[in-house]
Symmetry: C2
């Protein structure tokens, strides 16, 4: 096996300088179009750089700049289409600010999240974007001393972009009430700090209608398919199952619809299911999902802008994102006439 080519030293600015018979500093300036270098020289250097296959060394750059132009994105589950749209918004906005995005999937594990954050810290990222993190608020407040951190969809932290979670969830509850439901289940997300707005909206809506809160109707979704299946099982085993369920997100809602069908329960005839997020898939499943349209792409964009302000000592303006909207499709309907439980 011949000696691998990548062991040979890569071409540096000094190599180019030597080839062009100038000082390294001139090369740097030429490469970033500084007016301090004469056009002819600039072009000669640009040509040489391309020809020699120069790749800048970010490590050296980061070292002197004390920042990398990188933004770390810490997501709990890259498989959730929600994060794809978010990431898209983030990346589109990031290029405008000359920032590059690095992704780390924590798989919903808190320790992994910490490791990811540490890696990004060591990488000297300019900022962190953390949608719905697992770690505690306190952790992030401390972290915030080290690097700008903006949260998405979480409003208990110093810096966050979000839209009206309570409003979104209230719309769902109102819709279900209007259809005639009163026994409504609620699936909350992974237990943890900063995720209570949906729950809050749920309870408030119940109260406003004078309906007692029943802890039996509360389930917890951990992001996995199994979890959705398990919830579906629990739910059907109840003496008096709910006639409608407000699911934590669309992934959960869709999985539950499948699980229900497997058990011969029809949606929405036997039970209504509403989701949250309006992922692309939501309109394509059977039945199409009633859900809350959540401006993920915009949230992504705003989080970068926010981060940018933060990193430049500006007081970030309250981000403007569209209000959540209810999208009524076919997974919700009128409840069946209540069967009286015998005895």
């Amino acid at each position: 096996m011949s000696k691998p080519a990548w062991e040979s030293r890569r071409v540096t600015i000094k190599d180019i300088a030597k080839a062009a018979n100038v000082d390294p500093s001139t090369v740097t300036r030429a490469l970033k179009d500084s007016p301090r270098v004469k056009p002819a020289t600039r072009e000669k250097i640009a040509g040489l750089a391309a020809e020699m296959g120069y790749v800048p060394n970010m490590a050296a750059r980061t070292l002197v700049n004390r920042k990398s132009g990188l933004v770390g994105l810490v997501i709990p589950d890259m498989t959730n289409p929600f994060f794809r749209d978010l990431a898209k918004g983030i990346e589109d906005e990031a290029v405008k600010h000359d920032l590059r995005i690095l992704i780390n999937d924590t798989r919903g594990v808190e320790s992994t999240e910490r490791e990811a954050v540490n890696l990004f810290l060591a990488l000297k990222v300019d900022g962190l974007i953390v949608p719905m993190a697992r770690c505690t608020q306190q952790y992030y407040e401390e972290l915030n001393a080290a690097v700008p951190v903006v949260h998405v969809n979480r409003d208990d932290t110093p810096h966050h972009v979000s839209c009206d979670t309570v409003e979104g969830s209230s719309l769902v509850m109102q819709h279900l009430f209007e259809l005639g439901h009163s026994r409504i289940g609620f699936v909350r997300g992974p237990a943890g700090p900063g995720r209570e707005p949906k729950m809050h909206a749920y309870r408030t809506a119940l109260e406003a209608r004078g309906i007692d809160y029943d802890p039996d109707l509360i389930f917890t979704f951990d992001g996995t398919l199994e979890s959705s299946n398990a919830i579906t099982g629990q739910l059907l085993e109840l003496d008096e199952p709910p006639t409608a369920v407000f699911a934590h997100n669309d992934v959960n809602a869709i999985a539950m619809i499948h699980a229900l069908r497997d058990r011969g329960v029809r949606v929405p005839d036997d039970i209504s299911i509403a989701g949250h997020d309006d992922i692309q898939l939501a309109g394509c499943v059977d039945p199409p999902l009633t859900t809350v349209q959540w401006p993920m792409y915009e949230l992504g964009q705003q989080s970068v802008r926010y981060l940018y302000s933060l990193g430049h000592g500006q007081d970030p303006r309250e981000p403007q994102v569209p209000q959540p909207k209810l999208v009524i499709r076919e997974s919700t309907g009128n409840p069946r006439v209540a069967r009286q439980v015998p005895g």
Copy 2:
């Protein structure tokens, strides 16, 4: 607004050295448990480092080591569960080699893929793992001169880990033949280099049975939901639609099943659908999907091992991964008795 805390300089090895009254080099060695430093000093330094909240500066480290301990993972669609399992295998193996994984989602766009590669190059990654890349074989051969690159599921490149694609696809074809199908559609992946093994298996299987290859039965999936819908539409508009379809992957297969149902076509009664990959969801949809079980996790592990050997000048051993297996579920069945197309 008070001065943001993150503008203050972070604590470096020099700060620790000063605090501990030793030389920076001693701190380095203490922090990496070198036997050259006396246990008492080591502990004192470790304590100080923790107390002062020291975070190593990877840029400086990378600069002197000329490598970062990072591995870049370039994936076309992070939403495909396939890549999640792959990434899991990669990360689990990576920690064993003290490597960290960085992900970049290219959304199937070739130019984005190039940018991602360049970013990783600038970051001085130790290697690249590239499952089913969009760029040409030639590009990667050149790239391979700069950094170790291993491909997953693609066998036209210098270094790759894969398992028997032809075998996996042949199993599907054989299964469909045995059910009595002879008019079988095939959905290929995003057009591009290095993705012909499935196609090859398809055509070979057809030939072996003496069935003519019909270009009308070949469709191209670009990874999106819309694409699956469009294919479904095209397929049904055929004068003589196929009685079975071998889909490029499970995501495609599942989307097609949905699209078919929307149009009132039943699976497998009216048409059989087989997928590829056996993602977690495959067993949970309705009907459960017949598919090829693909050892994604193992491929992930092997790709890191392979990369590691490559990076250490060892001749990498041919990776051993399980053979693909056919998983027969309910989305495939006997064809309906062939309707004769009138005159």
